[in-house]
């Protein structure tokens, strides 16, 4: 199995990431347009077609609540939800774009270029920011769910601790960036050893 170069796993991943990036731009732009549209719309309550219930997806877990157990969704709440989605989408786009450019250099058999050091560090920082935005969005979602639901005996708790695996992933990116930095230096020294 070929991992680097043309027609390798890297090149296929690069194509997949490019497709994800285009899809992400479309999805995030749609959210931004929806936010703008909703901000200038007159109604204070979201139209009924958007109130067919409530579904929350978190990893492999999906929680659905029928419309009859949900209070009407008001515009500011829906707007803030869309804004949070757009913010997370924007963060994801930065990660996807940098990963795509990273894999493009792997596919071109040039992994140790100075840009990759910067890209890995950027990905690390963005993942770190993501972990905190995720906590904030989960907490607000919990509050929202608590306010919206009319289900008796429903208790929702959120802890305000960032996901450990996300933080570990950011740390891994920083370490990898330093490894790349060292490799880039060695490569440059080697190239200019005559």
């Amino acid at each position: 199995m070929k991992y680097l170069g043309d027609k390798s796993i890297s090149s296929w991943l690069e194509v997949a990431l490019r497709a994800s990036w285009i899809f992400g731009i479309v999805a995030t732009s749609s959210m931004v347009i929806a936010v703008i549209g909703l901000a200038i719309a007159g109604d204070s309550v979201i139209p009924p077609q958007f109130q067919s219930g409530l579904a929350i997806n978190s990893g492999g877990l999906k929680i659905s609540i029928d419309a009859q157990y949900i209070n009407p969704l008001h515009r500011p709440v829906f707007l803030s939800l869309l804004l949070a989605g757009a913010a997370l989408g924007g963060i994801a786009l930065v990660i996807i774009r940098n990963l795509q450019l990273l894999f493009a250099t792997f596919a071109a058999n040039n992994p140790f270029c100075p840009e990759n050091y910067k890209r890995l560090r950027k990905i690390g920082w963005v993942i770190l920011i993501w972990s905190f935005v995720e906590v904030a969005s989960e907490a607000s979602l919990g509050v929202l769910l608590h306010k919206m639901s009319t289900l008796p005996g429903l208790h929702i708790t959120t802890n305000l601790i960032p996901n450990l695996s996300t933080i570990l992933m950011a740390a891994l990116c920083f370490v990898l960036a330093e490894v790349f930095h060292m490799a880039i230096k060695l490569k440059r020294d080697n190239e200019f050893t005559i």
């Binding site: 100075p114 880039i184 440059r188 200019f192 050893t193 005559i194």
Partner: protein
């Protein structure tokens, strides 16, 4: 610290062109130009030996240490 190569002066004294010297020591013209313009980060003993042989000189005639100048100064620029 900085190591400066005096290939220019030696080549002028020996009346030898870059292309000819490159061919004789087994380097590409591009690599010899890197050496000549003091852009190399290191030099192999085999290259130094070939240069000394073709220019009929000692390593000390080619290399010179000048404090605060030349090769090695931009080592940790990034």
């Amino acid at each position: 610290m900085g190591i400066i190569l005096h290939l220019d002066r030696l080549m002028l004294e020996r009346k030898i062109q870059v292309n000819e010297l490159a061919e004789r020591v087994g380097l590409t013209t591009a690599n010899l130009s890197i050496l000549k313009n003091n852009r190399a980060r290191a030099i192999r003993f085999t290259t130094l030996t070939a240069l000394c042989r073709e220019l009929n000189c000692q390593p000390g005639d080619i290399l010179k240490y000048i404090p605060g100048e030349g090769v090695g100064e931009e080592e940790d620029e990034d």
